[in-house]
Amino acid sequence: MNGDTPAPPLRYALEGHSLVKTFGSFRAVDGVDIAVPAGSIYGVLGPNGAGKTTLLRTLLGIIDPDEGVRSLLGDAAPLRMARQVGYLPEERGLYPSMKAFEAIAFMGALRGLPLKQGRERARAMLEGHGMGGAIDKPIRQLSKGMAQTVQLFGTIIHEPRLIVLDEPFSGLDAINQEKLEALIREQARRGVTILFSTHVIAHAERLCERIAIVAGGRIRFEGTVADARDRLRPQVRLRTKASDGAWRRALPADTVVEDGAWHFALPDDGIEPLLHALLRGHAGIESLSIERPGLHDAFVAIAGEATARQMEEAQAREQDA
């Protein structure tokens, strides 16, 4: 081995093992193990108060865990790697009197980007995203959406290797949510690792390669979105002409009737034995569909009905707001 040997590529951009963080007697993070593969889009999914923000803050080194170890871009001291990280906190914050381009350059400067370069990039970024008119405006004069975009640009101005976004879609309208999704995909294409938290399952489903479902400070599931879905068997929806007959004995025990159709989980031995029974019994198949469960169904199954309802309510409240 000599000094010129390149370092092996990083497997995980972020790792945490047995992380515990308590506030008084409340365990906000309760023995979490997490590993975010380098170059992936990773979602931390959970309702408000699940411990997502505390987990992200602990991984980033903003707060120290009470127990456990963490590693950010291969370094056990996260702030040492701060120059290579971009972070958008849940509670957005900018200096109200700062001009938009200065605010972006300042955030870059905090992460080691020279101010001159930061200003040039900030101007180009704002102009490139149709916000040229906001360049010299103080933050206090910008709309909430624009200010959030400015902060997002400040998060990526220094071209970080890892971007951590805490509830990035919160407070954005549909158009800006779409823009943000595009931006996340663009960064991921450049090889940047993206970790974001959300309580909106749809965002995670559309964007993430891997997800962690968090509830009560614990990770209830960790894996790909497909893995999460695979936790549930596909759902069969069958409509027959006949309503009764010997063929009914072939229907699984969990079968229920909804809107005049039979509903049941796909049996372990597949659909073929049931089809044979239906044909033999002259049930008269009107329609038969096998639906792969969505992430939402998987989430309900993993985190529980109550947690899922909590998330839906939070999302509804946000939309109302």
Partner: protein, 396 residues
Amino acid sequence: MREMLRAALVIARRDFTAVVLSRTFILFLLGPLLPILIGMAFGGLGEKISSTDLRPMVGIAMPASETARLERAHQRLTERMGDQALVRLRRVPLTPAPREQLARADSAVVAILSGSVAHPILTGKPDDLDKMQGDLSLIASAAQAEHTLRLVQVERQEVATSLGAQAQARLLIGRVAQVVMFFLTILLAGMILSNLVEEKTNKIIEILAAAVPIDAIFLGKLMAMLAMSFVGIAFWGGTAFAIFLALHGSASGLPAPAVGWPIFLILAVLYFAMAYTLLGSLFLGIGAQAATVREVQTLNMPVTMGQMLIFFFASYAVDHMGSPAEVAATIFPFSSPFAMIARAAQDDVLWPHLLALLWQAAFVALIIRVGVLLFRRHVMQSGGRWWKNLFRNTTG
């Protein structure tokens, strides 16, 4: 360390420009000049007030010859002792009795001297009698010995310097330097109390804390406020010096401090920086715990009282060079800059200043560190007991 300084400079630069480029900074600069301008505008009136003769007036109710003797004696003594040394005399009628004259509404005298030069009787309130009895005894004695009293002529021998006078002048320089430093510190360091409230109320603190060590945030804020103070001091000092030159022509007549003016001024700047950063780091640490501006305002009073105590301590020490109190004032970090500048005015030995500056700088670092750990513990709710992390790395 290098990275922390870089980050501190980024924060300092932001804070400095935010303050200096704001409109309110002009008011900040002009504020302290207002008393000077008002003072100059009303200077004539002030002079008039200060020249008004406030010496007590004593009525003389004696026969004309006796009164004339007293007046001549008063005149002779005033020539020797100066205008303000003795009570003033005024003739009053022999009747009615002094007691009745003093009771009249139009009475212009404080007390009345009656009887004769040999046996004068002073009538007045006990306090006034206590104050004026000695003066009148001297005047009456001089009047009685009018023809025999010969005032001795003192021969003059002039010298260029007098160590006693020099010591007095240096003591005065030390005192003035202390007062100026104290007022600048109390005016400027108090602003640091509310310095982190903006970041906390605008939720910026998390962005800063995720990017740089909190030590760098604290240090950067102190650096910015110190730089802003220097801008203010340069402006006020320059204006005051210009006014001084306009009034007096040159500064050559000023007595010199023990270490000489150039070193004294350098030390004054350094000690101000230390006094400012010592108190500033303490205020920043205290203010960082406050969640709202209202909480900061509540903290202002006890903090100002603390500053006053420190000043009184240092100011007591200035008169007692080398005493245990003075040594204690130079060692106690918060009074040390004030005590040491007074020492620079009176003692020309330089090495204690180097030692004191290092000592004070060490305390600045220590106070910042404790403030940071308390901030992490109580505001960020992170980290264990602060004393356990005092000398640990801050990189998360």
